[in-house]
């Protein structure tokens, strides 16, 4: 996959990735997903997204080559690769902040390295390819447990842990009402995981009916289309005894619609780090003393949000890039025990050659697309 500019990608032959560090591995990709956050790159909204780079931070594959210091995985292992590039040694990694590694991103200190996610996230080529270089192979890649479906495994690279961490950061207490903005794959998974933390009621807000219908059954959840509301905040207040829900999860991020001014300044004019409409609604409708958990991706510049209300209402706002490696053991258990069924979200399986079509389908929500997976011809599984 080769990015050529906003909304233009194509398949190209690029040189084989090489071992550049003693802890590198080269992985032959067997599955890679297109993520909702890839659309920020695809639309040209993330600064320092260079022509010629390969996207893709959700991928699994078979280890083809390892550097001299790699001893935790071996050639032939089928591994799932967390989307974070993390060393496991810095003081942030040692405290489980694997999304905040300080030894993986030369271009920015505010975010750790992420595969295929612009030079602002480290300048690594990603997994929407046949082969990919995986740094810190002793730490990141995790051998896929025997018997696990590759379609489940690839969803453990980002979607499942990010949805889970969104609920975890919500500090959900038994009986809490949880509102999730966004019925994309991460929002769907956050709604599902909210129940695992003891939620008493889960509400999902979006504008796409087929996705709302899916999450209504999958999570399960109450679902509402914000296009049918005059005022989202007022609706949610009325639906929650006029006090607001206890926990809100922003699983939308920079591409939010629903407010013309925010869209104009955030998504089109790039005068903000994306359109914070969902975050705005969350802050204004959450209960006093409540928690807003953010996993939606925003750009590095500022955003117009009612920060005064955060103070006045005594809110706690939590957010982070997901610490995939920290969560994997628990989530693998959940998948193996049938508590979470990740592959149910996959609606499209496309050959890698159709990557441009995959982006078009996903970006424009065509053909009831929820999650597209790309399968290279050499995948073999």
């Amino acid at each position: 996959m080769n990015y050529r500019g906003p909304q233009r990608v194509r398949l190209d032959h690029k040189p084989m990735p090489e071992i550049l560090h003693p802890e590198d591995a080269i992985v032959r990709v067997t599955r890679s997903c297109i993520c909702g956050s890839d659309l920020h790159l695809y639309n040209g909204n993330v600064p320092d997204t260079r022509v010629g780079t390969t996207f893709g931070h959700e991928f699994i594959g078979i280890v083809e080559e390892v550097g001299p210091d790699v001893h935790n995985v071996k050639i032939g292992d089928h591994v799932l690769v967390p989307f974070n590039v993390a060393c496991g040694k810095c003081s942030f990694c040692q405290q489980g902040l694997y999304g905040n590694c300080h030894e993986s991103n030369a271009q920015a200190t505010a975010v750790g390295g992420i595969f295929g996610y612009s030079h602002t996230a480290g300048g690594y080529d990603g997994g929407q390819a046949e082969y990919v270089r995986v740094p810190y192979a002793n730490f990141g890649p995790t051998v896929i447990p025997p018997g696990m479906d590759p379609d489940d495994a690839v969803m453990l690279c980002d979607v499942v842990p990010t949805g889970y961490q969104a609920a975890e950061m919500g500090g959900i207490q038994p009986g809490d009402t949880v509102v999730v903005f966004g019925a994309g794959p991460v929002g769907i998974m956050a709604a599902r995981c909210a129940w695992l933390f003891g939620a008493g009621r889960v509400i999902v807000i979006d504008e796409v009916d087929y996705r709302l219908e899916f999450v209504r059954n999958y999570a399960p959840a109450e679902v509402y289309n914000f296009k049918e509301m005059d005022d989202v905040v007022l609706f949610l207040k009325k639906a929650t005894d006029w006090l607001g829900a206890d926990v809100y999860i922003d699983a939308v991020g920079a591409e939010a619609t629903g407010n013309a001014i925010q869209s104009l300044t955030g998504r089109i004019g790039l005068l903000q780090g994306g359109s914070p409409t969902a975050l705005h609604w969350a802050i204004n409708s959450v209960k006093k003393g409540g928690i807003v958990s953010i996993v939606g991706v925003y750009g590095p510049t500022g955003n117009y949000i009612p920060i005064g209300n955060v103070v006045n209402k005594g809110l706690t706002i939590r957010g982070n890039q997901t610490s995939v490696k920290r969560l994997l053991p628990r989530l693998i258990e959940h998948v193996q025990n049938g508590v979470i069924n990740p592959k149910a979200l996959i609606t499209h399986r496309l050959p890698l050659e159709e990557v441009a079509e995959g982006y078009h389908l996903f970006a424009n929500k065509l053909d009831n697309c929820i999650k597209p997976v790309l399968i290279p011809s050499r995948a073999g599984v």
Binding site: E103, N105, G299, L366
Partner: protein, 185 residues
């Protein structure tokens, strides 16, 4: 405007002070530490375990350093390259020059980000020119994925048609108005 030069002090600590050592250090502050509550940890579960190791500064055992074989732009908010880094698409051409300029500003400065967005657009044009030079035939239909099964969103389609019609009528009215104004003059 006077600038303030801050002397960088590198941390040389090797271990965290104990609670007793800290208490001894702050005996002059009445009430220091009387309400310390380790259970009140808003960083949990993201910091798990919480070790406070970052208070030791940049002192961890670093991984081996990846040799630098291509130009890598480095944020000025760190003193060195990280142990590993990406080597995809090194800066080049006009977009590269703009990016080098952007990296003279810190991440909190808008002059870091605006030039990077400008560079991305310049880079897109460079990509088109590069394709032409190498005889690569552009297939915009394919690159935009328009060969995918189309199932147009009827609401969006109608919205676009209405906006397009309104803009066209608006432009025509403005042009007619100007034309009449010119005739009156």
């Amino acid at each position: 405007m006077e600038t303030i030069d801050i002397q960088v002090v590198n941390a040389v600590r090797t271990q965290l002070p104990t609670r007793e050592e800290l208490a001894g250090k702050f005996t002059h502050i009445k009430g220091w530490g009387v309400d310390i509550d380790p259970e009140n940890d808003p960083t949990y579960p993201m910091k798990n375990p919480r070790t406070d190791a970052e208070q030791l500064g940049y002192t961890w055992q670093r991984p081996a350093q990846q040799p630098q074989t291509v130009e890598v732009l480095q944020t000025n908010e760190r003193p060195n390259l990280p142990a590993v880094f990406g080597t995809s698409s090194p800066p080049s051409g006009l977009s590269g020059a703009i990016r080098r300029y952007a990296f003279t500003f810190s991440e909190s400065n808008i002059m870091h980000w605006i030039p990077l967005i400008v560079a991305d657009r310049v880079n897109m044009v460079e990509g088109l020119m590069d394709d032409l030079l190498h005889g690569t035939v552009q297939n915009f239909t394919k690159e935009k994925g328009l060969t995918a099964p189309q199932e147009p969103n009827k609401t969006d389609l109608m919205t676009n048609v209405l906006i397009g019609t309104a803009v066209t009528i608006g432009v025509m009215l403005i042009l007619r108005g100007r034309s009449r104004a010119t005739q009156i003059e």
